[in-house]
């Protein structure tokens, strides 16, 4: 019985990812990060705009997550909820907080170990390698393990490969990071786009309203 209950619970969790909208939005965020890092490299730290970009990074991230979440909700309200229904997820239960803490702990440990290992090789861009590992850990722990959606492991592997390859490319760090986020953005957009296409094919808009 426990297994069947867990299956139902995981199916409810997986529902959030069933339309690929989250990945499309994530891809958009990654594109913005690609532009951000490339611009910063192009302008340099000493220019006014470059300095402003560097100082505003945290604001950019927080704002991006906030706006992204809003946009996902708006798009889901138009596409997903009328087709397959609405689910509101618990945000502050103990397990979710523990999982976040665990993800953060694992990510930080992996990052520290990666920095230590990568620093031993002068020809490697540690920043992009560590970013690749961090993004891979987030996809595996936060997305893959909690939701059981297989394509997140593929995205995780893509991040590892891209981080590894770009760390040896010899490009300037900003362009390297820009390339990493740009290519990951494409991977997310493809994954999200294909998922959305399949979702729309399998779930046409109902002709009569159910929620009345």
């Amino acid at each position: 019985m426990k297994d069947e209950t867990s299956q139902v619970e995981q199916r409810v969790k997986r529902y959030w990812y069933s339309d690929g909208i989250g990945e499309l939005m994530g891809g958009g965020m990654f594109f913005l990060l690609a532009v951000y890092f490339s611009l910063q490299q192009y302008l340099g730290d000493r220019s006014l705009v470059g300095g402003m970009l560097q100082a505003g990074f945290i604001l950019f991230l927080i704002g991006g997550v906030f706006v992204g979440r809003r946009v996902i909700n708006i798009v889901k309200t138009r596409i997903t909820y009328p087709r397959t229904g609405y689910v509101e997820y618990r945000t502050n239960n103990k397990n979710a907080n523990l999982m976040r803490l665990l993800s953060f702990g694992v990510a930080m440990t992996v990052a520290m170990v990666s920095v230590f290992v990568v620093r031993r090789f002068d020809s490697i861009d540690a920043m992009v390698a560590v970013t690749g590992v961090l993004v891979a850990v987030i996809f595996t722990v936060k997305q893959g393990l909690t939701s059981g959606v297989g394509r997140f492991y593929f995205l995780s592997a893509t991040s590892l490969v891209l981080g590894g390859l770009l760390s040896m490319s010899g490009f300037a760090r900003g362009y390297n990071l820009g390339l990493f986020y740009g290519l990951m953005g494409i991977a997310l957009a493809i994954s999200g786009g294909l998922t959305l296409r399949r979702y729309l094919q399998e779930n046409p808009m109902p002709t009569e309203a159910v929620n009345e």
Partner: protein, 102 residues
């Protein structure tokens, strides 16, 4: 009748019914879910789901609210604290029964 089987008499029959058990399990995994989602996940007809939800609402296990998400009308269902408690107790009883009977 053995004590193990007699324990089944104490089960909450409102939750024990398969369709209602599925509804309550789905609702326990989320903060709330709408009628359409429940209908699809539980594989029930509109009338059937309505009837089961009414029974759960009468018992105070489920709260049903009509609301809007943007312009979209939604009938949102939520497990109450009483419903959550009853579901947890039911799961514990079933687990005990299965542990005993192996």
């Amino acid at each position: 009748m053995s004590d193990d089987l007699r324990g089944l008499n104490d089960l909450d029959r409102l939750i024990h019914e398969p369709a209602r058990l599925l509804i309550v399990t789905i609702l326990s995994a989320a903060a709330s879910a709408d009628f359409l989602f429940l209908q699809r996940e539980a594989g029930l007809t509109k009338g059937n789901l309505s009837a089961h939800l009414s029974k759960l609402e009468e018992a105070g296990y489920v709260k049903i609210e009509k609301t809007f998400k943007g312009k979209l009308p939604l009938t949102v269902c939520k497990l109450t604290a009483k419903g959550q408690k009853a579901y947890t107790a039911y799961r514990q009883q079933m687990q005990m029964f299965m542990d005993k009977t192996g």
